[in-house]
């Protein structure tokens, strides 16, 4: 386990359809305010949160992009995605709204070990 406190938030939920994505990003931003070092890992359908050109107005929801684009202002610039999850969804990092680091599924345990707290949403 890492000596210094660092938090990995694992974000597995699609952007709309439930409040989970928004609630997870709220936690990330709040931890940022409190100067906790935060990394975000987007797994599975959580990847869809990072797609550009979201238009949830048609389902009467607010876009998540305002929150996502605020992440760097809270010093949250470590965003990770899983290579296999990208491929399964026929996505490439270029299709994503934010700059991400692509990690192979086999390397995810290493990423978990680099953080003192792993919180999975």
């Amino acid at each position: 386990m890492a000596d210094k406190k660092s938090v990995l938030l694992v974000n597995r939920h699609p952007p709309y359809g439930s409040n989970m994505a928004r609630d997870t990003l709220d936690v990330a931003l709040t931890c940022g305010i409190f100067d906790l070092p935060i990394s975000l890992l987007f797994l599975g359908d959580g990847l869809y949160q990072l797609l550009d050109s979201q238009n949830p107005k048609s389902i009467e929801q607010k876009s998540l992009q305002a929150m996502l684009s605020a992440l760097p202002m809270y010093d949250i610039d470590q965003l990770y995605v899983c290579a296999e999850d990208l491929a399964e969804r026929d996505l490439t990092p270029a299709a994503l709204y934010a700059e991400v680091k692509v990690v192979d599924a086999a390397r995810l345990p290493e990423l978990f070990q680099q953080h003192s707290t792993v919180l999975t949403f």
Binding site: N19, M20, D26, V27, T30, I33, F34, T117, L119
Partner: protein
């Protein structure tokens, strides 16, 4: 070891709401510390004092209140999630001009900062519930 629990389970729809209470009891029974329990999302409904479950069901509210009394647990209910779902203390009822308030004894309304602080102070943060149970 110092634990913080984050609960997002809808109290009378998801098994994980009961699991969280059982987990908390077990953590305490094994001599660990529970630094804070943070009720987020639909789990804020746990703290609605107007809940009236059937007598032969597990009373989540009573269960948490009993545990809080015994162990002086810090039961924090996310204020933004709570006011949206109609779980109000006297102060919030006044602010939103509502006729009554229903935050159960033993719980307090506060912000996500309480969760961030708990994450910073705890060895383990365990989350329950949410969209898939």
């Amino acid at each position: 070891m110092r634990f913080t629990l984050v609960i997002q389970s809808s109290p009378y729809s998801q098994q994980s709401a009961t699991t969280a209470l059982r987990f908390c009891k077990q953590v305490l029974a094994q001599g660990h510390e529970v630094y804070r329990v943070f009720f987020y999302g639909d789990a804020v409904l746990t703290a609605n004092d107007f809940n009236a479950p059937a007598v032969d069901e597990t009373g989540l509210l009573k269960g948490w209140q009993a545990l809080q009394q015994t162990h002086q647990l810090d039961l924090v209910v996310c204020i933004a999630a709570a006011v949206r779902r109609g779980v109000l203390n006297e102060h919030e009822a006044g602010r939103y001009e509502k006729k009554g308030f229903n935050l159960a004894a033993g719980f307090e309304l506060s912000g996500l900062g309480q969760l961030a602080e708990a994450i910073a102070c705890s060895d383990r943060v365990i989350r329950f519930g949410g969209a898939h149970g």
